[in-house]
Structure formats: structure tokens, C-alpha cells
Symmetry: C2
Subunit: 458 residues, 2 copies
């Protein structure tokens, strides 16, 4: 007779366990179609469980159609038609493990100095207010408190005048790129900086969006190739181009605005880490000097607060807001209310500005220490440092003829995570230049970093 063993430390109701076992035996066809099941009373006695346990299990099986009942006769396995048995070997994917390096000069890291206690104080404040806005779906554009805080921050920080109802909060920049694709349509052609961030092109690829790579000169993206392309939307980071660190001068900016206006196109201005420019004040965004509603401004808290935050925002020109409501108005906001409200308080109470200033100061010292150590090293004569004010990285040009692929292999072998300038070019090339992101270093491991760099370049 059908029997099951109940484990001693069962973490679920017994009827559920019994139900699952019978169900699985039906699915696995151990129990045959129309096979009679034991009567409830006998089954309970045999299994040494209460009658109600068996009754509940049978009722659930009945409800789901796994068994049927005939009055005064009993319970039977339903004659179910199953799909064919699987023949394909199932594959199993392990979580990919991050590689361990002795020194990481590649990954951005702004986390270590996150003001935990302040943030936690604000969280408690927000929670204890038990504001009802914590429990309702955030408005589509994002919580008004946060949009107001961002608007004020942008004004104080670089003189931008942005009404809160043109700001859209989203779960990361990639999420917002996707929204923009859906907003501007799949048929329009984009232009990307070459070199530039590689993740943007991946978002376009996966969405089957056509785009052209446009080269840079010393002022940033070049106008002539852009004009000769069929692109109508150009994606740039004028304040601080990655990885070259180029700051686009005002005339090139005006030329780009002119191009956008003439082509009825748009400029996506990615201002993702203008806060960390180490010299001078942050530059006026294109958005600020645009008089024709052709600039879409983007920025993120993942770089300034911590990569663990998934929160970015974009500012649409007024002319795109009604299109946004019309085409994408059905989407819910993708960031939770609580997190938005806490970040809003963080900005409003002045902690965000303090945090940025503290971090800039910290990175300036870190960079100076690192550059000093480089200057005193054996390799200093054979390298050239460039764009050291660009942000959290600089360029290091070296004078031996190891190819970029080889130098990365060599780096990996000695436990150094590093990128080459050529990694950010569309076409493979050798530029004999490393992109050194020092944000993950600490004073304690600068000398190890120099050691490994020396080993790498000697």
C-alpha cells in the first residue's frame, strides 16, 4: 500500500507534505491513471497521522484536479495526459564568482566612505514619520520630495534651472537608456563616442538599435563625421569624457546644440560623475545652455553615493514630457518610495553636498599620494601621466611594445586588475596606455600597486 515517511524535523504542515508527495508521484507517473487511493481512514492509520491531515491533502489534490472522487467508493488518480518525458540534458549554471585580484585599478569604488550613521539616522527619521507616502506606489516620475531635492541640488551645484516635473527617477542608467529607446522610437539612429563607455552600445545592440561610432578630437566628439552620419541622437559625456577625460569647450557644445536643432535630434548628456572632477567647479551642462529643448540630461547616484544604490535620474526637455506621458505613462516608477524619500532627505539636509566634498578631498589626496609614489618609482622615466584631473582615473602611457592584450594577460598573472585605453575603442588597437582607476586603492596598498605596476611595465 502507498506509504510515505514523515521526516522528524518537518518544517511545513503534515498535510502539505503528504499532498506534495502524492502529487509528485502522480506527476512522475508512479501512481497510475485511475488507480484507487487508500481510504482516508486506512491511510491515516497506516501513516500514523490524523484523519484531518489526509482529508486536507486529498482536498487539495481534488481542487487541483490531480485526483477525483466517486461517491461512496473513494478517491482515484485522474487520468492525466502528460507531455513527453524530457530527453534534453538539463544544464546548470553556477553563480559566476568575481575574480580575486591583489590590486584592482579597474573597478570604480566610491563606497568605503559612505556615511553609514548619517544615512541610518535619516532612515529612522523617515520610518518613524510613518508617512503614508512610504506605502503608496511612487508617482510615475518618482517621489516629488526627491525630484524637488534634485532640482535644488542642481541649481546650487551648477546653476541648472530644472522644474521637478521634468525629472524622471529610474532604477539605474541602463534602465533609463531603455526608457529613452522606447520613448524616441526604435527606428531612429544613434551616435556614440569612440572611445567611450562600452555598456551603452550593449543596450542598443540588445534592442536592435542602429548606431554609429563617431571619433573624438581634442575637444570631444567630432562634428563633421556626426553631420555626415544619419544619426539623430548623440550620446555624450561632455563634462568629463570617459576614459580620455576630455572636457568639451563651449564652442563645440554650441556646435552640437546647433546640429541637434537643425536635425530635430537630441543630445543625451551623460553627466555621470561630474561631481568628482578634481579641479575647478563642475562645468555647466549642455542642458543649461540649450535653448531649443534638444538636450536630455542624465546622472546617477550609483557613482556618488554607492554602487549598491540603483538610482539614476534623467531630465527631459519640456517638449518630450508630453510624449513621455503619452507613450510611457503606463510604466510604474522603478525605485521604491522609501529609498527615494531617504535620499531626498540626504540631499535636502545638506549631507549629499558634504559627502561629495569629502569624497573629492579624499580622492585628491589619494591621487596625489599615488602620483607621488609613481614619481619616485623606477618606471617614472618611461611613462607619461595624462588627464590626472579628469576624475577617479588617469591615463598612463608606457614605452614598451607589449600589445594591449599581452599587457592585460601579464597583469592578470600578477594579480592586477587593469584596463587599457584601447578597451574603450570600437575597433581593436594598441595604444600603449593604461586607464588607472585609483578609487579602490587605500594608502596602505599604494606601494603594492606601484610594485605591481613596475613589474608589469619593466
Amino acid at each position: 500500500m502507498l506509504t510515505y515517511t514523515f521526516p522528524e524535523n518537518l518544517h511545513k504542515p503534515m498535510y502539505l507534505y503528504l499532498y506534495e508527495n502524492i502529487r509528485n508521484d502522480i506527476i512522475n507517473q508512479k501512481l497510475q491513471p485511475n488507480e484507487k487511493l487508500p481510504s482516508k481512514r486506512t491511510f491515516a492509520k497506516n501513516l500514523d497521522v490524523s484523519l484531518i491531515t489526509v482529508e486536507n491533502a486529498y482536498n487539495q489534490l481534488l481542487l487541483e484536479g490531480f485526483i477525483y472522487a466517486i461517491e461512496k467508493k473513494g478517491y482515484y488518480v485522474s487520468p492525466l495526459e502528460f507531455p513527453d518525458k524530457p530527453v534534453i540534458e538539463k544544464t546548470y549554471i553556477e553563480d559566476t564568482k568575481a575574480e580575486q585580484y591583489r590590486i584592482d585599478l579597474k573597478t570604480n569604488s566610491v563606497a568605503e566612505h559612505f556615511p553609514f550613521s548619517t544615512y541610518s539616522k535619516l532612515m529612522r527619521q523617515v520610518l518613524s514619520s510613518q508617512d503614508t507616502s512610504l506605502l503608496v506606489r511612487p508617482p510615475q516620475l518618482g517621489c516629488l520630495q526627491l525630484r524637488e531635492a534634485i532640482s535644488k541640488h542642481l541649481y546650487d551645484f551648477n546653476g541648472m534651472n530644472v522644474p521637478p516635473n521634468q525629472i524622471i527617477i529610474g532604477a539605474g542608467s541602463e534602465y533609463l537608456y531603455n526608457l529613452l529607446i522606447q520613448l524616441l522610437g526604435h527606428d531612429v539612429i544613434y551616435a556614440l563616442e569612440d572611445p567611450g563607455h562600452t555598456s551603452i552600445s550593449k543596450v542598443y545592440d540588445i534592442n536592435h538599435i542602429h548606431y554609429h561610432y563617431i571619433p573624438l578630437d581634442k575637444y570631444g566628439i567630432m562634428l563633421e563625421p556626426l553631420q555626415h552620419s544619419s544619426a539623430k541622437i548623440v550620446h555624450i559625456s561632455p563634462a568629463h569624457h570617459f576614459p580620455t577625460g576630455i572636457t568639451m569647450p563651449i564652442q563645440r557644445r554650441l556646435d552640437l546644440l546647433k546640429w541637434a536643432n537643425e536635425h530635430q535630434g537630441y543630445i543625451i548628456e551623460d553627466d555621470y560623475d561630474s561631481e568628482f572632477r578634481l579641479r575647478g567647479k563642475p562645468l555647466s551642462p549642455l542642458y543649461q545652455i540649450d535653448q531649443h529643448d534638444r538636450v536630455i540630461y542624465m546622472n546617477t547616484f550609483s557613482k556618488t553615493l554607492s554602487p549598491s544604490f540603483r538610482m539614476s535620474y534623467m531630465i527631459l526637455p519640456k517638449s518630450l514630457m508630453s510624449l513621455f506621458q503619452q507613450k510611457l505613462g503606463f510604466y510604474a516608477c522603478s525605485v521604491s518610495s522609501f529609498e527615494q524619500i531617504v535620499v531626498a532627505e540626504f540631499i535636502k539636509q545638506g549631507y549629499f553636498e558634504k559627502h561629495i566634498n569629502r569624497m573629492r578631498h579624499y580622492y585628491k589626496l589619494l591621487r596625489d599620494d599615488f602620483l607621488d609614489a609613481l614619481r619616485q618609482s623606477d618606471i617614472y622615466d618611461s611613462i607619461k601621466i595624462k588627464k590626472e584631473n579628469a576624475g577617479l582615473h588617469f591615463l598612463l602611457e608606457y614605452q614598451n611594445n607589449i600589445s594591449d592584450i599581452q599587457i592585460k594577460e601579464k597583469a592578470k598573472a600578477i594579480g592586477l586588475n587593469i584596463s587599457c585605453l584601447s578597451d574603450f575603442y570600437h575597433k581593436p588597437c594598441n595604444l600603449y596606455t593604461l586607464v588607472i582607476n585609483y578609487s579602490g586603492l587605500s594608502r596602505d596598498n599604494i606601494s603594492l600597486a606601484i610594485q605591481l605596476l613596475t613589474k608589469l611595465l619593466k
Copy 2:
């Protein structure tokens, strides 16, 4: 001579204010190309500010290219070429305000009983642990703690065996629908339930995805029209179809699995509120009985915890995991680590299950009270209640001939927010049936709700 007034309560450095004013005058072409600016010393004296203020402002303007310097002569406005002046009238969009209703029988609301103090205790616990995982970018699939907690919850709750590394956390179901489109390709054809949730088709529309509507019979989505369509992916909610409340019996489930296997297609099983079925245990998901890796399971915390949370998850069949890594491996996780870790603790420490049970109990009582009140009302003889165990809503069929459009207009006029069953059909029709979502009611306003319903249907 050029002059500016400094406001008394200036919230930014004076040099910044001065810089912005000059910059704006250059952009607005109040200052002419090659116009000479006052010397630093004279300007400082005239403005009654320190020399360093003017120096800093000029330096920033120089850096950005707004002005140029001629040695021993002074500073001049750069001869910039501006885009043409705007001619288009700018439009301005106000934040859309939610309409105010006296009674809302349309909107889902599970928020009021959110365990604030427990959640806040967990947040403090997580924060005080200062775990480094709070500060790093969450793994692509989501934080392991949360995926493990979900895996265990699914096992305890409905016997599902899901390895954590097939679970993907995302910022809401719409976000995950978008990921699935990118994963499965833009060319494949989808099938949707008719009637069904309307937001899914909007996501497909905006992505230019082809889909067919498939009608339902009393067992759920119909197989024959599905087989005759060219669809390879079907999007269903078998545990609890919205809005009809249909629970798909096992044979239809098996037939669908067979269909998916034969067509090498996929079933997207949207289990979005199976937790709130008010009778019996939650039904075994299709995912659980699928033996051919053809089911993608989706669920969300926005329904069970609070709509203010933007957190959903999906479980991919093993066969799709490697495709996911290959095609979408570049995307960052879209939910912040902190929120994920707190929800993980909420589940692991048993609060999630308690919360669900408490809410089910609460809704059961609320529904019973509401139905009792309906039974005692004047309209009870002329209406029929259906599917009252479906979840947080039931269907109310009425016997007068007012069209669905008219009844909604009448409802709006008396301050009642309500939907018709026909709202969820692809083609306009009159079904004389309301979908009553009672989750936002409280015992205090049941009688008002009955009053308004009576007024509406009499």
C-alpha cells in the same frame, strides 16, 4: 560698465554667482563677441567683492571657453557661434494629479497593514551590521541572501524546488517583462489572455512585439486557438486569473506544458498574487510540474508587501540561464542591495509568512463583512456575486441595461472608482459585470461603498 547685484541671502559662493551671471549674459548675447570685460581689480572694486572672487569667476569662464585672455591686455568674450534663437513655444507639463474618489473599488491596496516597526527594526539590524555587501554593487541576479530566502519561501509556501541561481531580482514586473523581451528576442510572437491584465500588452506594444489575444473558457486560456496562432510564448496567470478568478485545472496545465514543449516555446507564469487566494492552499505553480524547462515563473513583492516596493523576481528555466548570462550579462541588477538584504531578513526571520497570513485573514473578514452588507442591501436581488475566493476582488453581475461606459461615467459622477469586467477584454463589449476590488476598503466605509453601489445599480 558691467555690473551685477549680489542678493543678501546668497546660498552659493559669490564667485559662482558672478560666473553664472556673466555666462548667462554671454549665452543670451547681452555681451557681444570680443567685448572686453572689466579688469579684475576694477570689477572687484565696482562690485564690492574681493579680487579672488572675480579671479575665480574669470578662471571658470576661461576653462569653459566662454572668455579668452590676451596677456597684458585683459579678458574678452569669446566669439561663439550660437544656434538660432528658439521659435517654438515651449509647452509645460504639470504633474498629473490623482483623481479624488469617495470610495475606490478599483485600486489594489495592501499597504495599510504593513508592519512598520518590524521592518524598521530589521533595517536597523542590517545597517548596524555595516556589512560590506551593503556598499557593493549587487550581483547581477540579485543579492544571494534574498535569492536564498525566496528559494526557501517558495519551498515552504508551495513546495517549489528552485535553486537560488535561477532567480533574478528586478525593479518591478514591467522591468522583468522588458528583460524577457530582450532575452527571448524581438521576433518571437506572444500570446496573451483575453481578458487579462492590460499593462502587459502595453509593454509589448512599446517594444513593437507581435502578440495574439487568446480567449478563455472556464478552465483558463484555450488551447486550440493558441495552437492555431503563431505564438511561441504564452503569458498566463494560472493560479488565479485576473480578473475572472479562474484557477486552471491540472489537465489544462499539462496540455499547456505539452504545447510549449512541442513548439519549443515558453510559458510565462505570472503568479503575482497567489499568496492572497482566500480559500485552500496556494496551487502548485506550472513551474513545479514542468519537466521540460519551458516555464518562466514571475512574482512580485509590490503586491504582498506594499506597492511602494519596486521589487519583483522571475525564475528562469535552467536552459535559459546561460542565454541570459550571454545576452544580458552586462546589465547591473536594478534593485539596491540594502533593500534586497532587508527583504531577505524579513523573509528569513518568518515575518513575510506572518504578514501574508495576517493579510489573508484580514481580507477574508473584510470580504465577509462586505458581502454580508451587500446581502442586506436593496440591490442584492438584482445582482450575482462570482469568484469571491479569487483574491482581493470579486465579480458583480448586475441586471440592468446600462452600458459599461455609462455605468463608469455614472460611478465617476457619484465619486466611485470602479472597473468593469469588459475593461480587461481586448475588444469593447458590454458584460454588465463589475470587478470589485475591496482591498482599499475599511470597515468604516463599507456602508458608504454599499450606498454608492446601490445608487449606481438601482
